[in-house]
Amino acid sequence: MNFDPGEDQALLKTAVERFVADTYGAAPVETRRMAQAGAAGFGAAHWARLAETGLLGLAVSASGGGLGGGRVEVAVTMEAIGHGLVAEPLLEAAIIPGMLLDAASHAAQQSTVLEGLVAGASIVVLAHAERAARFDLDHVDGAAEASGTDVAIHAGKTAVLVGGGADWLIVSARDASGVTGFWLVPAAAPGVDRRPYRLADGSLAAEVTLRGVVVPAGNRLAVDTAHFTAVIAMARLAACAEMLGLMTRLFETTLDYVKTRRQFGQPLGSFQVIQHRMTDAYVLIEQARSHLLRAALAPDARFARAAAGAKAFIADAAITVAHTAVQMHGGMGITDELLVGHALKRIRVLALVFGDAGSALDDYARAA
């Protein structure tokens, strides 16, 4: 039993922290704002640098050209990304599509796309959510009709994360047998109608409508339900880690604020009510960290359930800690000038994607 990072994990952590320090360190809010003003909704130069350090291939196997990181590596990385308020979508445009493509890298075109992803040359994202599904990840109305060696895809996807600037979409749809499959679709293909919009965290999502979009049948990824479940579990773990990083950052900055800010002639932090509220936040963060570790270190058979549980717990805890941070900062907390508001908004997004706290809780309870 050992909760300290291993040597390689510590090196990875250092590498991510160096990236954060070099890019977001001096002025996180301004850096974030400028990065998000980019065409894809994040910083192209930052993305290139992440590619250089190999981090875009974090969850891709070594044979697929990646670092072959497992759960602990994902957790360590994403916590540092969250702590740094990084705008670049490592979760949305590297971990998730990387894992989906990796499983399918036997097909030549898919290997090429995966190479492009790892190299930072192509932005690939998952287009799965549909409005009618709400948070039910199994609910897919999109359909893929076979037509010779091609398929024609009809689907309406919403909240396609980082979809606004994506080159490739991984679109879920039901095949003729009613089985959910995943097809690689060029974002620029005829029949793809993409409407970009901003989410609360400033990222550029998209609504995507596919009206009979034709792709070769070989574009179907070798992703079955079990593999998709594993990807979602990893996505949840990564979201939890990023939320934990954000919570920790919020806590540090708020603790610093209440120690220095004075009101009615004494530091805010000398008021017992403030002390206890900060203590509540501290307890939540420690418990959240325990859940993250639990999910990261669970036996494989229990990972999906542990990740669902961690998501349910950490989503609520992170929102609570963020609300505390806003309230403790008073007027400044509700402005767009401090990292507090940006962290809250990112947490709001992470808390809801891949199942909100309630639906993750139901997944967890069902798996008991």
């Binding site: 959510a129 409005r131 009618a132 599904a133 709400r134 948070f135 039910d136 609910h139 919403t158 909240a159 409407r195 919009y197 901003r198 989410l199 609360a200 400033g202 999502a205 609504e207 009101q263 009615f264 008021f271 009510v273 403030i274 609300h323 806003v326 309230q327 008073g330 007027g331 907390g333 509700i334 402005t335 767009d336 000038e337 508001g341 809250l344 908004k345 709001r348 997004v349 809801l352 994607v353 909100d356 309630g358």
Partner: protein, 401 residues
């Protein structure tokens, strides 16, 4: 015991309803509902103000002599409730509710003549110069200095959280005119023309991208002595008058209840697997709990109103309604974000979100409004006395702790 309005009050209610039905344009209702922040923009607010002014119902917080309506507390409540239910734009409190009564009470005849009617016509927009960076609501630590120079003061300092300073013609401002007496005694209440050199306005953008508040820098700014309200050094007294005047009956629940009705309607059409969200027992219980809290608040407000109607002081129960209403506002806005699922995550920063040129929503219009409304409503438990301060007040004044 009864909870009913008198026949006269019911007749008044009918009159208000008829007026609103006839005179409140749909465009203004849409503007109100399409505003995710606390204050409506002047394009909406001023038009509504002109309509009310034409009817003679605008200055209902003012003495009759100054153009007030002479309404009873119950009539005021009825008016505010019906306005809320009709989605009437909120009225700017700065001129009408805050500085207007101060000028009417402490102003010279000349000051009344110069300022009051221009508040009603909307020719002058006002902002408030109370809070300062680093001082929060702790007025005794005020740092802005006003130095007498003949028939004027030269004012230097900085004010923060100044709502709509970027629209304002005038600021009512607390400034220290005598640094040598004890902190509360050396403060004066000055009216400062915002359209003069030395006034610099730095916008403070909210989390949702809204521009409501500002920091205002005053560098060698001029305030005429004839625009000082009351005596020199009387600022503290006037500030207290203003704060007390701000109190009185609270009418927050009707709007909260209407928003809960709206939310229930929206949940009834939100897809959720095979059914709709309203069928989800967890969601419907949370909604019902918020409704119970809001209904209790409505009755609490009526109880305070009944006290006022009998000429008794409402007392610190206003801290209670502020506390409950603020938390409720936030919980409703949170549940509204959740109602829309992933659509609730969208956040546009273009404004306004009403009118023909407003951006297209993802999903429906209320979904587009949900996130900015939620983000802005974090302010409710902070401004106007934070929840923590309200609890301190109750503990001290009501519980004697």
């Amino acid at each position: 015991m009864d909870m009913d309005f008198s026949a006269a009050d019911i007749a008044f209610q009918a009159e208000v309803r008829a007026f609103l039905a006839a005179e409140l344009p749909q465009r203004l209702r849409d503007g109100m509902n399409g505003t995710p922040s606390v204050f409506v923009e002047p394009d909406i607010g001023l038009e509504w103000q002109r309509i009310l002014h034409a009817k003679g119902w605008l200055a209902y917080h003012w003495p009759v002599a100054a153009g007030g309506t002479g309404w009873t507390p119950v009539q005021r409540y009825i008016f505010e409730k019906e306005c809320a239910l009709a989605d009437a734009p909120s009225l700017s409190v700065l001129g009408l509710r805050l500085v207007g009564p101060v000028i009417a009470h402490y102003g010279t005849p000349d000051q009344k003549a110069r300022f009051l009617s221009r508040i009603l016509t909307g020719e002058d927009l006002w902002c408030q110069g109370y809070s300062e960076p680093g001082s929060g609501s702790d007025l005794a630590s005020l740092k802005t200095r006003a130095v007498r120079d003949g028939d004027r003061y030269i004012v230097n300092g900085s004010k923060i959280w100044t709502t709509h300073a970027h629209y304002a013609d005038w600021m009512f401002c607390l400034a220290r005119t005598d640094p040598d007496v004890k902190p509360q005694a050396g403060i004066s209440f000055l009216l400062i023309n915002m359209r003069q050199p030395g006034v610099t306005i730095r916008p403070i953008i909210g989390m949702a991208g809204d521009h409501e508040v500002n920091q205002v820098f005053l560098d060698d700014v001029e305030a005429l002595v004839e625009n000082r309200i009351g005596e020199e050094g009387q600022g503290w007294t006037i500030a207290k008058f203003l704060l007390e005047n701000e109190r009185g009956g609270s009418c927050a629940a009707p709007r909260l209840l209407a928003d809960l009705d709206r939310l229930a309607g929206l949940a009834a059409v939100q897809p959720d697997g095979a059914g709709v969200l309203a069928d989800d027992r967890d969601f419907s219980r949370r909604l019902a709990r918020l409704r119970l809290e809001a209904e209790a608040l409505e009755t609490t407000e009526l109880r305070i109103l009944a006290e006022l109607a009998q000429g008794r002081a409402p007392g610190p129960q206003t801290s209670l309604t502020k506390l409950v209403a603020s938390s409720l506002r936030q919980h409703i806005d949170e549940l509204t974000v959740e109602c829309f699922g992933l659509d609730g995550l969208q956040l546009v920063t273009e404004r306004p979100l009403y009118g023909n040129e407003s951006p297209e929503p993802i999903g429906c219009k209320p979904a587009q409004l949900a996130m900015p409304t939620y983000l802005n409503s974090r302010a409710w438990t902070i401004f106007g006395g934070s929840n923590e301060v309200q609890k301190n007040i109750i503990a001290k004044t009501v519980l004697g702790l």
